[in-house]
């Protein structure tokens, strides 16, 4: 249970600087690219089967050599992402590789990832960065792709950290991400003359203004018990900082700590300004309320814009304001999606070549050309086609000193659902929080002990 795989603030800082690394055309000469991160100690022992002779570290991938069939198991079952992946696959430059996509709806895929990995029918699978990837890598269900990483360029250290498991090897290639922030309606805000709050006091002041004007300040949806996890994440990162958040998720901090209690004390201040009965409201219902101008602010991922075309036009967002000036406001949730390889793929050579391709600006441009709701991970991707929301998301993530993946991706799945239960009960009745946190801390001990021994 080390936190080695999380991008630390320093690493994200380097990610920002990674933007200066000039974009290389991955599909032509990769020997030079191989040297970019080859000096990293991560790559000392790689031991992959198709190590190329003559390259530093664990070897690199020489595109164009692979052939044969390759299956991509995909959870991109919604129409737009599905079409976007098809466009990526169609643009794969090596025509000797026969690519096929096996799409399973994302819920089924997620619930069955264990059997999917054990069956090993697909070579490459769509998945999530960070803990969720590490979890399976540590169980030996994923293939080491450190050699792919030695050929990757344009992905910062933060992305690399989010792709690294406990053994220091990489098991994931990030493709795109989206950000969580406070969304608002441009129309309503310009009508009422609201301005972006920069501090906690300004946020509460704005909420008072809204309440006085008959508008519910905060939308609250929690159907499925995940939307409010985002609120916990951001309040914890603002109150206690990114490092504490990562340690708390990693099981090394106590939930009965005063700092955790403070998060809920802060949250309690927001509850009177929030919509009531949040646990029964879907995020779409709350988004519709925002669209109709009955609520003023809505903390959610930028996917909120997908609620309707009108919403996509009218939506804007801003970073959650700072609570403690010593901590600032530069950490946020920005879940990264990407690809991983099964432990023993039928066609490892093609799988690695595809994974390398996925990391390139070319592949990501192809994806974003169809699905403009996310932001590319490669710094060389074409940002000129970004819409306002994408540009703002990219700026926010680039300026961030700490990026979390979202509560249900940052910790053991069982523990994440225990947290979800506590949050749901808290918003129902905040007075119960002390007992809830004590229980949660006991659960944490049990769940993390099981996890450590397995």
């Amino acid at each position: 249970m080390t936190n080695a795989s999380y991008p630390s603030p320093k690493e994200w800082d380097r990610l920002v600087r990674g933007k200066n690394v000039s974009r290389r055309s991955m599909l032509k000469g990769s020997a030079a690219a191989g040297a970019v991160v080859a000096g990293s100690s991560f790559l000392a022992a790689c031991g992959s089967d198709d190590t190329e002779a003559g390259t530093e570290g664990g070897g690199s991938i020489e595109p164009g050599n692979a052939s044969g069939a390759l299956t991509i198991g995909s959870n991109l079952s919604d129409d737009t992402p599905k079409a976007a992946l098809a466009a990526v696959v169609a643009a794969f430059p090596n025509s000797d590789v026969e690519l096929s996509i096996n799409t399973t709806d994302h819920n089924t895929f997620q619930e069955n990832i264990n059997t999917i990995l054990q069956a090993g029918e697909d070579d490459v699978l769509t998945w999530f960065a960070g803990f969720r990837n590490k979890f399976f890598a540590d169980q030996g269900l994923l293939g080491d792709i450190s050699d792919v990483w030695s050929s990757i360029s344009g992905l910062g250290e933060g992305f690399k950290a989010a792709s690294t498991a406990s053994d220091g090897k990489q098991y994931f290639v990030p493709a795109f991400y989206y950000t969580w922030a406070i969304n608002n309606s441009k129309k309503l805000w310009s009508e009422k003359g609201y301005t972006e709050p920069k501090t906690w006091d300004e946020l509460l002041g704005l909420a008072d203004d809204m309440a006085a004007g008959g508008i519910t300040p905060f939308a609250m949806a929690n159907d499925g018990k995940w939307p409010q996890m985002g609120m916990f994440d951001i309040l914890n990162m603002r109150t206690n900082g990114y490092d504490f958040h990562v340690d708390l998720m990693g099981g090394t901090e106590s939930w009965t700590d005063d700092r955790v209690r403070q998060v809920f004390t802060n949250w309690e201040q927001l509850l009177p300004y929030s919509q009531e009965g949040g646990n029964g409201r879907t995020w779409q219902e709350a988004a519709t309320d925002m669209e109709n101008g009955t609520v003023g602010m809505y903390l959610l991922g930028t996917f909120a814009a997908s609620n309707s075309d009108a919403m996509a036009e009218d939506m804007d967002f801003f970073n959650f304001p700072e609570i403690d000036s010593a901590i600032g406001s530069s950490a946020l949730d920005a879940p990264i999606d990407g690809y991983q390889m099964v432990a023993s793929p039928a066609n490892a050579e093609a799988a690695k070549e595809f994974l390398l391709y996925i990391s390139t600006a070319e592949a990501q441009d192809a994806y974003l050309g169809v699905d403009p709701s996310v932001v590319a991970s490669n710094s060389g991707a074409d940002t000129s086609v970004y819409n306002d929301l994408q540009r703002k998301s990219a700026d926010l993530a680039n300026a961030a000193t700490g990026i979390a993946q979202f509560l249900d991706r940052d910790t053991i799945p069982d523990f994440a659902s225990a947290c979800g239960d506590v949050i749901a009960e808290f918003i129902e009745d905040p007075s119960k929080i002390d007992g809830l946190l004590a229980d949660l801390d006991e659960k944490k001990t049990a769940i993390f002990a099981d996890f450590g021994s397995s």
Binding site: D78, T103, T104, T282, W283, N292, G301
Partner: protein, 289 residues
């Protein structure tokens, strides 16, 4: 006289209230299936508002987005053999335990009945591992993975295994009610065991078979659990997976799901309507002895 009349009113009132309670959500679902998402989501009264637009778009989209035709083919390729095989095999067991007295009759029947009580979830992990280790020839569509796991054959087999317990139980109870003299007479006329089973007992068991066929069709058709664990190819999943396909990663159109559910439930309703008479007479199966 007066009290019986009052009781009748009370009973009718009670039934009326409860049937309305039952019908209410179904009517709501049918109505919302015909309405565009924007209409119910933007209306402050939501699903309780009066419909303004009636459209078949949701049904069209559900068919398309859920790739329902493709998944229906898979479903029927599983349901029909599984149902036929289950009824065939369990009627044979039922025939032998009801017609012949054998030492292990009761034990065998208990074994089959006990199998019913076993929750399928409890054996899924070993079953998955076993399936993962049994190679079978690769046949397009039927078994593309080259293993029992991921093949339609594997899915059919597990349905047969799990459903035959209940069917054996019901069929043997039914066959016990048929007069033994029929078999004796047939035997005197020189009919062998097979002939007694196929030409004497089976035709008489038809009501029970029809009732079971309706139930089995619905159960196997509605299966999601086995399919999802044992099949890895998204295209090889049965129709129940289509409904999940209709909810987006973040965005879910409830009206679309309502329309999808109505489409998916259609075959079960049709089968019930076709076999309704047998189903009702079969309901009393094994009730009197």
């Amino acid at each position: 006289m007066l009290t019986t009349k009052r009781n009748q009113y009370l009973a009718q009132g009670f039934l009326l209230v409860f049937s309305l309670l039952w019908v209410f959500p179904i009517v709501g679902m049918v109505l919302s299936a015909f309405r565009p998402y924007a209409e119910t989501s933007n209306n402050p009264r939501g699903f309780f508002s009066w419909p303004e637009t009636i459209t078949l778009d949701n049904f069209r989209n559900a068919l398309e987005q859920g790739e329902m035709v493709q998944h229906w083919i898979v479903t029927f390729a599983v349901v029909i053999p599984a149902m036929t095989l289950t009824l065939f095999l369990s009627s044979m067991v039922a025939f032998s335990v009801s017609r012949y007295s054998w030492r292990f009759n009761i034990a065998l029947l208990m074994l089959f009945t006990a199998g019913n009580l076993l929750p399928p979830q409890s054996i899924i992990q070993p079953l998955f591992q076993i399936y993962n280790r049994i190679p079978i020839p690769e046949i397009p569509f039927i078994s593309e993975s080259g293993q029992l796991r991921g093949s339609l054959i594997g899915l059919i087999l597990i349905h047969v295994a799990f459903q035959s317990g209940f069917c054996t139980f019901v069929l043997s109870n039914y066959m016990k009610t048929l007069p033994k003299e029929l078999n004796e007479a047939a035997m005197v006329d020189g009919a062998g065991v097979w002939r007694q089973y196929w030409q004497i007992v089976m035709p008489l068991t038809r009501p029970a078979l029809a009732a079971l066929a309706t139930l089995e069709f619905a159960w196997i058709y509605n299966d999601y659990f086995w399919a999802v664990v044992l099949v890895q190819q998204g295209d090889d999943l049965p129709i129940t997976s289509s409904l999940r396909n209709l909810s987006g990663e973040f965005f879910t159109d409830d009206n679309l799901i309502a329309a999808g559910s109505l489409i998916v439930v259609l075959p079960t309703v049709l089968i019930y309507l076709v076999l309704r008479r047998q189903f009702i007479s079969g309901l009393a199966v094994g009730a009197q002895k």
